[in-house]
Symmetry: D2
Subunit: 291 residues, 4 copies
C-alpha cells in the first residue's frame, strides 16, 4: 500500500518456486555480490513443509539499465538450480496500458486522474470503447480513443481489431474500467494475468449480471466491489483486492449503485497500482499481494 519509487537504478526481482532451504541465502548473496543493496524484501511460503515459495525484492544497483542483460544471465544460473519462475524488471520502466470502457465514466475518470497526478507509473496508450460516449473525457489527456462497436455478430471481428490495436502499441496491461462485454478467450490467453476487471459485487456473492439488484433482493447489510484478473470463467479469476461499505434497508438499487461507484473506483485503483508495481503474483487461482 505504500508509494513505490521508480528511480532509474531501482530493480525488482520476482521469484516463484518450490520451497527448499537456502533460497533466500542464494538470492541475497547473489545481489550482494553484484553490488546491489536490498531496499525491500518480502517472501511468503504457502506451507513450510513442502509448499511454494514466493519472493519480491527491490534492490538498488548503480547503472542498472545497461547492466540489466548480464545481470539476468548471471541470475539465470541460480534460477535453474532452484527451478524458479522469475523476472527482473527495472522499476523505472513504465508498463503500456490500454483501458476498456463502456458507458459508465467513474472508473475511467479515476484511472485518468490518478495517472495524471503521477500516482500510476504507466503509459496509458489508448482507451478502447464499444461506445463513442467517453471520447470527450479522454481527449484532453491526449490519449487515442478507439471506438470499436461490438454486437453478438461482430464480436470476433471486434476482437481482431482489439488485438491489432493492442499489439501495435505493445500493450502490457489491460484495465476493464466497467467494460460490460465478454472478453474472448484468445485475448485472455494472450494477456494471461494482465487483464484487470472491476466487478461490482463482493465476489463470489452475486456473480453475473446486475449484482446491485441481486444484493438488494437478498437484503445484505454490506455491499462490495472486487478487482480480479480475467480468466475464461466469468467472475472466477484470481482476486486482487476487495472492499465493502455498510448499507441498510433504506437503500434502494439506485443508492447501492451510487455507493458502489465509490467502492469500484477505489478498489480498481488499488489493484491497478499494485499490478503496475509488480506487487502481485498469481498462484493457481489466488494472488499473493506484497505490501
Amino acid at each position: 500500500m505504500k508509494i513505490h519509487t521508480h528511480g532509474k537504478d531501482l530493480g525488482r526481482l520476482l521469484i516463484c518456486c518450490a520451497d527448499q532451504p537456502g533460497i533466500i541465502a542464494a538470492v541475497s548473496r547473489f545481489l550482494f555480490e553484484q553490488g546491489a543493496n536490498i531496499v525491500d524484501s518480502d517472501q511468503y511460503t504457502t506451507d513450510p513443509h513442502g509448499g511454494f515459495f514466493f519472493m519480491r525484492v527491490e534492490f538498488q544497483l548503480e547503472e542498472l539499465i545497461p547492466r540489466l542483460e548480464p545481470l539476468r544471465e548471471r541470475f539465470a544460473r541460480i534460477a535453474v538450480s532452484f527451478d524458479m519462475e522469475w523476472r527482473i524488471t527495472p522499476a523505472a520502466r513504465k508498463q503500456r496500458v490500454a483501458v476498456f470502457v463502456s458507458r459508465e465514466d467513474h472508473c475511467l475518470r479515476e484511472i485518468l486522474w490518478r495517472w495524471n497526478i503521477g500516482e500510476l507509473h504507466a503509459d496509458i496508450s489508448m482507451v478502447i470503447s464499444n461506445h463513442p460516449d467517453m471520447e470527450a473525457i479522454v481527449a484532453p489527456f491526449g490519449i487515442p480513443y478507439h471506438h470499436v462497436p461490438v454486437s453478438k455478430e461482430s464480436r470476433e471481428q471486434a476482437a481482431d481489431i482489439h488485438l491489432e490495436l493492442l499489439n501495435q502499441a505493445g500493450i502490457d496491461t489491460i484495465i476493464l474500467a466497467r467494460y460490460m462485454q465478454i472478453i474472448p478467450a484468445r485475448i485472455i490467453d494472450r494477456y494471461r494475468n494482465q487483464i484487470i476487471n472491476i466487478h461490482h459485487s463482493f465476489l463470489p456473492a452475486f456473480v453475473g449480471g446486475k449484482p446491485y439488484h441481486q444484493a438488494y433482493e437478498r437484503g445484505v447489510k454490506i455491499i462490495g466491489a472486487t478487482a480480479h484478473y480475467v480468466t475464461e470463467e466469468l467472475d472466477q479469476g484470481p482476486i486482487i483486492e476487495q472492499d465493502v461499505q455498510r448499507v441498510s434497508h433504506r437503500h434502494h438499487v439506485e443508492d447501492l449503485k451510487r455507493i458502489g461507484r465509490d467502492l469500484e473506483r477505489i478498489v480498481l485503483a488499488r489493484a491497478v497500482q499494485w499490478h503496475l508495481n509488480d506487487q502481485v503474483l498469481v498462484h493457481g487461482n489466488k494472488t499473493i499481494v506484497f505490501p
Copy 2:
C-alpha cells in the same frame, strides 16, 4: 445501535401496513390522547408511491402495565381502519430465550457474558446442546443445561424433546450459537422469525458447510459473518446483521477460523440485542432494522 432502556412505563408500538396518507397523524394523535409521550419514533416506507409502511414508536405512559389491555383494545380500532399488523409491548418485559450450542464455545460465552453484565434484556431460560461439553461453562450462571443427543435417526425424537422443553418454559426466542444441526421445519414454523442463527461467512457467499475452507480456496481478501432468521431454506433467511474483516494470502484456514470467531461473536450479539429490543421487522425475506 444505541442502548435501549427498559423503564416500567416505557412501551413499544410496532406497525406494518400498506402505505397511505394519515398513518403517522393517526398514531401520534392516538398516543397523545392516551397521555403518552413519544420518546423515539422511526418509520420507513419501501416506496412513497404505493409501498409498504413500517413504524416503531417508543412511548412513555404512566401506569403502562395495568393499562396495557385497554390500550391495545383502543388501538385495535385504528389498526383495523389501516389494515395494520401491529403489536404493543412493554419494554420492561423480558423475552424468554433458549440458546442452542454444539461444541464451539465462543458465541455461547459471548451471549452469557453480555447477559450477565446486563447488556441483553432477557431471561436466558435454558441452554440446549447435542453434546455435554458446554455444561461446565453454563453451570455457574445457574441456567439449566439440557443435553439432547441428535443423530440422523433420532432427529425427530430430538425435535420432540426440544419442543417440549421450549413449550414448557414459554420460550420466545431461540439463539443458535454455532449449533451445527439442521432445525426441523416444525420448530422453524413454530418460532417463525424468532430463531437467530450465526453463519460463519458473508452470505450469500459460501453457503453450506465449511465456509472458511471455501473462502480460503477462493482467495477472498475479506471474510465475514452473518446473523439471520432461520427459514426452511438453509442459509437463506432474512439477514439481520453482517460484518467483515480484511485478510490476506498469509491467512490459512485456521487463521480465518480464528479471525472469524471474533466476527461471529460481535455480529450475533448485535443481532440478538436488536431482536430483543423489538428493533427488527421482517418483510418478505428482508429485515428492517430500526436504529
Copy 3:
C-alpha cells in the same frame, strides 16, 4: 445515505425545539390536514426527560411551490405554540454553492464530478481560489473562476472581494475544498453553519497544520479525515462526517497524504450531499445527521 429525490411537489420541514408531549401529533395532523403525505420522517430527542427535540419530515403536497407561502403562514401558528425553530423548503430548490480551493485539486474534482453526474442537487455558481492553477479544471464546466490572491496584508481586502462575489451570486453554501486559508470571522458569521471544511485528520487528533506529518510522528495505525462546519475556533466546529483508513509503519508521510486524499474526497462529498439535502441540523457544537 440514501438518494434523496427532488420532485417538484416534495417539501421538507425541519424543526428544533424543547421536547414536550404532542409535537409529533401536532405536526403530523397539520400535514395531514393540508393534504400532504409524509414520505419520510425522522426525529431525535437528546433526552426523553426535558431534552431537545429535532425533526425532519419529507412530505408530498400537490402544487407545493405556489402553496408554499400560505403553508408557512399556517405552520407558523403551531411553531409559536411549541417555541420552535423551523423551516419549510421545497426539495426541488437548488442551493447556490461557492467552492473555495487552493492548489490541491482532488477535492475540487470530486465535487465537480459528482455535481456533473447529478449526485449533488445544487448550482455551483463559482469557484474562488487564491491561486490561478485550477482554472483549467473548472473552465470546461462553464463555472466562473475567481482568482483572489490572499496575503497576510491583503486578507481583509480579499474578504471584501469574497463577500461581494458571494452576495452578488446569492450564495447559500460555501465548500472549502482544501482551501488552506483562514476564513475571516465576518464571513463565518454571515454563513453560520453553511461553510463546510474538509480537515485532513481524524479530529480532534492533529488539529492545526501538517496533520499527516503529525500522524506519521505519532505512529498511529489509522488515519482519518473530518468534514465540519467552520466556526471561529480553528478545526473546532461541529463535525458532520469522518472516515478512516488503516496504515502501518511502512507508510511514510507521502503515503499518508496519498491515502488521505481518497478519504478527504469521500468524506467531503458525503458531508456536502447531506448538507444540500437538509439532512444536517446543528445543536451546540454537534450535528444531528438524519439518514
Copy 4:
C-alpha cells in the same frame, strides 16, 4: 495477523541496526550454514538511504533448544560487525505474564478466554488488582489473584509489593487490562516496552481521563481504542494497534462505553498476541509490527 506456531524446533531472530548493504545476505547465509530453514522473513528499512533496518526471521532448526547457546555465540560475531541489537528466542518458550485489572471485567475475561483456548502462547502467572472484585472470575482458571490496594499514600508501598510479586514469578510481560492506576516510573523502567496498556480512545484524541465523555462532548462520528506500550508520559507510549467503530448523534456516553468495550477487547487481544509472538519492534516512539 496469522497464527504463529510454536513447534519445538522453531526459532525467531530479531534484528535492529543501521542499514547497510549485505545484512540480509549475511543473516541468511548464517542460518543456511547452521542447517536452519527460513520459514518466514520480514524486513523493513525506514529509509533506503541511511535509515534503520529491522528484520524478523522465523527458522526451523533441528534440536534447537540444546543448540541455542552455541547458535547465539556464533551469531554474536555477525551482530558485532553490523552493530546490531538482536535476540534469538525459541518459539516454544512461553512468556510469563501478569495481568493488572481494576473493576471492569471485559478485557480481563477476553484475555483469559483466549489464553484458555490456546490463542495466547503464554503462562498467565498472576492477576493483580487494586480491588477484590475480580477474584471470582480468575479463581476457576487456577491463576493466583493478588489484591493490592492502592491509594495516593500507599502508591510507593504498593509498587514495592508489585515488583516483589513480578520478580518472584519472573514475569516478562505486564498487561494492563483496564487498570485505572498510574504505573510508577521504576516499574516502567524495569519493564521497558513490556507493559501493554489499552486506552479507551483513538489516541492521540482524548488523552487523559473519561475519553468517552470527551468523545461525546466533541460529537465525533467514530470512536476508537488504542493499545500501546507504557512510558513515563501518560498515553504517549508507542502505539501497537488501534481500531474504530462508527457512532452517531444517537449514542449517549453509556452507548459509547458499551461499543467501546468491544473495541477495547479486540484491540488489546491483538496487541498482546503480536507482542507474545515477537512481532513487535519498538523504534523511538513508534512500533514496527510484522504481520
